[in-house]
């Protein structure tokens, strides 16, 4: 979007774009909110905020990037602002590099309970700094390095390096080879 003037779309078009986006990505946005906020009540508020800002943002949507990229950019921005607003102290959040070095008590355990696995995964994501969170969430949503680069603004090479780290961390913690992720 750099260097371009946003195009103001009409109210009807904005509503239609929002409806389309909410129908296609509503569930993914809920998952995204859960990666940024552990408290269920605050998570619901965050999800509402994401939807609201998404609706507002469509006034300036000029279709220069895909709808999915736009939706994720706005959602990540709202969620990262939420992390800052909630004064989650950065020093308690870690980067992927640091997370890779941290020990995991459950390392290598096969856990049959899907809910517990999800809790472990969410806890792991919520420890990450916002930019790395964007990468891991996009990766978990099955996006490729190019799409993630488009959303985050990182170079595809940098994203690939981060994905490599993510795969190693997840493989170690979930006893899973990560072949599916290739």
């Amino acid at each position: 979007m750099e260097g371009t003037q946003p195009i103001s779309t009409g109210a009807a078009s904005r509503d239609a774009l929002y409806r389309d986006a909410a129908a296609k990505y509503g569930a993914a946005l809920q998952r995204l909110a859960s990666a940024y906020e552990a408290d269920p009540e605050k998570r619901r508020d965050l999800n509402q905020d994401i939807h609201f800002q998404l609706w507002r943002s469509f006034q300036r949507y000029d279709a220069r990037c895909s709808l999915r990229t736009w939706v994720y950019r706005v959602a990540h921005h709202v969620a990262a602002s939420h992390v800052l607003r909630e004064r989650k102290i950065f020093s308690r959040l870690v980067s992927l590099e640091e997370l890779e070095l941290l020990p995991d008590n459950d390392q290598g355990q096969l856990v049959a309970d899907q809910r517990k696995n999800l809790e472990r995964l969410s806890t792991l994501i919520q420890r990450l700094k916002p930019l790395d969170r964007q990468v891991i969430i996009s990766y978990l949503e099955d996006m490729d390095a190019v799409s993630i680069a488009e959303i985050t603004g990182l170079s595809p090479g940098n994203v690939a390096m981060r994905i490599h780290r993510i795969k190693k961390i997840l493989a170690r913690r979930f006893h899973q080879g990560g072949g599916h992720a290739e």
Partner: protein
Amino acid sequence: MRNDSSRNDPREIWQDQPTEPSIMTLEKIRLKTQELRAKTRRGLLGGMILPLAVAAIAGWGVKWFDSPMLRLVFAAAIAWSVAGQYFANRGMWPEPAPDDPAVGTGIESYRRELERRRYLSARFLLWYFGPMVLAIAALTVPALSLGMRRGMLLNMIPFLSLLFIWLVSVFVMRLRDRRELQREIDELDKIERAAR
């Protein structure tokens, strides 16, 4: 029934998590727009309480004390407070300007947000905290001299100590926040440089 391998595939675990049906309708969104405007207006008005209190106390100081030096300090606190309101809120009236949703990449919008927070933190220290400290200091000096004259200085020490600790804590916490924000911005710079 999933096998063990898929149960431990993080992408499947992530995507299979239960979600609620969408709760946002366009009608709710429009209501939220009105709420946001009202909230922004309330925020702007709420932000004026502290500077107004400082100005009122300093105004009382100007009227009450005879010392020209003290009057000058109180007047400076009033001027600082009023100027702060002008600089902190210019452009916000008559129409409140709610946060603009980001349309840049993640790294750009994250940087913007960090810079905005850093700016807000600096603004608080300069335009809100500064006049307040000046007014408190101007009130403390005559209170101390009165306490000395009446032999009540020891009784005042606990209150003054608590006040001092509170002021220093607010200042230190704000500075720490700013340092953390700056560190995060520096990290983003490094990431961007490495990506070039």
